[in-house]
Amino acid sequence: MLLENKRHYGARLNENLLIKNIPMILASCKEFQLIGAKGKDEVLLLKKLKDNDELDDLLPKIQSRNMKDMNMKPLLLILAHVLKDENIRNPIFKEGLAEILSTGVHHLNMMIDVAMEINTIARQGHSAKKLGWTAIQAIV
């Protein structure tokens, strides 16, 4: 799991990283992708979250190969929490959101570690990919 997550972050982190990209990268890690909707009620509430225009603006619009089969629940939970959407307080989301909040910090630390590994590989001349201050700042 650890190596798979590192590989996942390594592929998605780049020098053009912006703060608004972080929730998407975080939500697509292996553990969070396992957080699924448990019933029709939850699916309806997730659709309600999507009705928030501010939240909808931050959702990816282009269907890339990487996110074709992506579970959108973790991303919706993260964005609703960040934007303080009232619907996120529904008890149905409590368990999923608690897992994301409690382990999310470790995942962000892992992203920084991966960013440093990418820079070390670049310094050794094995790769042209290099992360600058703006990318690191976005994660921190």
Binding site: E15, H81, K84, A98, L101, S102, V105, N109, I112, A115, M116, N119, K130, L131, G132, W133, T134, I136, Q137, V140
Partner: protein, 141 residues
């Protein structure tokens, strides 16, 4: 600024409009927290609501106001050459905290878990901002 109790987007706008008149250098939260109690009272925040202002002062008292200083040097020498081993000595000081106390757990309405704060020290080439030399996480001990 929205972290502070009673603050709303409108309230922050009102405060920022007063920056020039009160000779406040910028609208950052750090600058706001470093103003004296009298200076903040003069700003007439929250339409003069004293209860809200008292709540704000309570929070500002425990805000982690930090002073960061650094010394970059080579041990035993006064000049640095390209072959030297350079030492970075970075100090973070909590200005509000007495010397015999250490920072406690973080408080956040939207993060309901017990956790200590961490600081990241990122050493970057200031000229290009692309060459990241080192990232270090300072953990609470």
């Amino acid at each position: 600024m929205l972290q502070l109790p009673g603050n709303t987007a409108d309230e922050i706008k009102k405060y920022r409009k007063q920056l020039k008149d009160n000779q406040i250098p910028d609208g950052k939260i750090d600058t706001f927290c470093r103003l004296s109690v009298a200076q903040r009272a003069k700003l007439n925040l929250f339409g003069g609501d004293k209860a809200k202002l008292a709540e704000l002062e309570k929070v500002i008292k425990v805000m982690p106001l930090i002073t960061c200083s650094n010394v970059i040097a080579v041990e035993g020498e006064t000049t640095i050459t390209s072959t030297d081993i350079i030492s970075f000595n970075i100090s973070l000081t909590y200005d509000n905290l007495p010397e015999n106390q250490s920072p406690g757990y973080i408080h956040s309405e939207n993060y309901p878990f017990v956790r200590h704060s961490n600081w990241y020290i990122v050493i970057v080439d200031a000229a290009t901002k692309t060459n990241v030399i080192q990232v270090e996480r300072l953990k609470h001990t």
